[in-house]
Symmetry: D2
Subunit: 246 residues, 4 copies
């Protein structure tokens, strides 16, 4: 039994990094590049990236249908993502592709499409906001290797109420210096696909170089990997007796 390669596509809006010097300095290859640099060191993963300004945002049908796990980072330009591409990614999730939604991608079309809610929240960017992330589901694959909590010294605040369907698993809850809390690590399934929301990752902080953050992203990729080549479920009319005929 040869171990299979998991095909990962990291998608990023990639606008902040081009227009804001301080973000460019932090993420010279883009946020997708920082994540790709780490995931490239993980055995068994094959990494691709896609960005908003490529044709079809780099998410052509053949790319999407050849992806096992997709990561998504977006912020101010969700509206520019073509509906056709969103529907394509949506169908692929239902067929089994894992989807890892990062930080401000809570407002991405694809996440709202899958959740059926506004995915809205409270927020604040402050210079001295500390985030403490607490593990609320020890033993879950996504928090393998993580202590009972970890700290990010500087992050954007996201506060409840976070308008999402009740998660199937809440694996991380954050507190912030200002007193707010947030369900920072959640999972759901839609069709055959596994979905993860993972909160941290504001573009002006070096979050995607933090070892705990990278470990969780790496674990999440493994957890969200389909157990076999994604395959469409069959529906529709069935004559009486079809069970015996099979």
């Amino acid at each position: 039994m040869t171990p299979k390669t998991t095909k990962v596509t990291i998608w990023n809006e990639w606008r902040h990094e081009k227009h804001k010097p301080e973000v460019a300095k932090l993420y010279p290859k883009g946020i997708h590049g920082a994540i790709a640099d780490h995931l490239s060191t993980v055995p068994g993963l094959s990494i691709r990236t896609g960005v908003l300004d490529e044709p079809q945002h780099g998410l052509q049908l053949e790319v999407v249908n050849d992806t096992d796990v997709m990561l998504w980072w977006g912020h101010l330009h969700h509206g520019e993502v073509a509906d056709e591409v969103v529907e394509r990614v949506h169908q692929r999730v239902l067929d089994g592709m894992g989807l890892i939604v990062l930080h401000s991608a809570h407002f991405s079309k694809i996440f709202k499409r899958l959740m059926g809610t506004t995915c809205d929240l409270k927020w604040r960017v402050d210079t001295d906001e500390r985030e403490i992330l607490w593990v609320t589901r020890p033993g879950h694959q996504i928090v393998e290797g993580i202590d009972d909590h970890f700290i990010l010294d500087h992050e954007e605040m996201y506060g409840e109420y976070f308008d999402i369907p009740e998660p199937q698993t809440t694996f991380l809850i954050s507190s912030f210096s200002g007193g707010e809390v947030f369900r920072s690590g959640c999972t759901w399934t839609r069709g055959a696909g596994r979905i993860v929301y993972f909160r941290p990752g504001h573009e002006t902080f070096p979050t995607y170089y933090d070892k705990n953050v990278l470990r969780i992203i790496e674990n999440a990729v493994r957890w969200a990997t389909p157990t076999r080549p994604p395959r469409r479920v069959e529906f529709g009319k069935r004559e009486r007796g079809w069970l015996d005929g099979k």
Copy 2:
């Protein structure tokens, strides 16, 4: 404390009843009329109906925003429901309105919008298909007064896999003569709103005169009633210290 009136809107496509004589005979006032006849006898409910061919399908903004619980039956003309009306109903659910999705409305735009999945399934209409519905959450308000099972001698078959998010509660599971099973009673929340899916109700069978079916619909209306006038949740930016200022 005077008991409050729950404002109910029963929505029906109302096409089968007009075009198919056998359906017209079974439901001379339409499926919405049969349900309205029963709910009108329940104390504390105020009943309205809406149908596809009315202006805005009878779901003007003031009607939707004055509804506590909406019931929805549709079958072959889901595509004719205006997107603008769907978005209006969607927002109202997030604000707290209960929504009871009946039978073939599993494919309605509003249900798919809230679930984030295809809501597809297997199906068959046969003349001798018996459905047995088993209670899988005794003590739930929606099955109050229902024995451990009940039987519908003639119904359409719906079979798994039913492409829905894992329900928060599965209160009924059906078996059919052909050997299929189906999660026939399920609940979810989206935003502040409670959603019920209740399977039976094919237009060529007298399902909406069955006392168990009517009892479950009546119970579901009570369960899905908002606990106070639906109110929009507030989101957005919060300066540090806003907690102390409140």
Copy 3:
């Protein structure tokens, strides 16, 4: 239809109040007395109390079987509660009685029996610990009338990981001055019974006089009320054809 009375039994260990002057001063009638004083003002409730040092802890079979909703507060003497009484309360919950588990009763025999886990947590009693409780399920009956958060200026800290099964609904999450978080409001069902855990309530603070705390307890009693007289589910052998014979 005359509104039915909900029979409530408030159970309290009632030892701190007798042995510690500062607790006696805060709760001269005991914690159960403070809660009873409030619930007695709520229409439709009939209130009883029980304490550890009564015969059978005041939970004779006829009392338990005549209770619709039970509240439970205990702290240092969980081990003195007779197993026979615990089994009696357990069976009554499965039959449909609501159970509201308060604060340090997370370690009560009955809660651990229902959860199947240790129900352990981190904790700290400090003089300047502020608890902020955030609503994470707006529209739920238990948070009716509660803003998006409320604050208790002085409380004991409870911190994650809280060893409970994944809640069916998490309606409140707390942050504390020390940076910890806690799932402070959770619900589950077991058999036909609804169970609520509600965190605040350390004996050295006036928590049970706080209007938000009392409102939540009152709402929780309503939410946990069985929809009909609790009734035992029937199990066991069924001959083929029993369905047709009914």
Copy 4:
């Protein structure tokens, strides 16, 4: 990175096989032996067995603490399993060990201990009872390689209501010739441990030689494997500032 071996302990009551000739004929090595024969062919698993009549039922502390995934089959002698052994297995599950509960072990002490309910159900043994098992969570690891349903020509009937907490995932629902339905494949977590209930497996039928049944058991072992050596979570008192001191 060398692949780790998963240590599996298959526990069986092993009484039917010794006292009933027809069971002995079907399972000459015992039900545990039949399952062990299959799992021994799966790469990466190391298999041990334990039975009721061994000292400490073969579940000495060192065996339990050296087990990653335990399978449990029992039927008429649940009461003979020592409470001390049950507590040992319970703690190990909370620490992360996977537990796969088979068929009539729904009534085992360990399953009831973890669920907090009676785990009771309806049942019938008939000579011509056919079970059809339907996949209700495609894409789940436990149903990898399974079609949308599979059939067991002869099995015992189990019928709802099955008195379990609402499952986190229901991956299989059965129908029976008699018209009953049952949630035949369910998962929960307790502490760090993953728990599977898998229904089929009456001792008088060759169920544990069915390829779909064996595939599901094999998949379930993989799914329930702890992601790292099981480790006890730490609880208890924490002084203010402990976060900064770490």
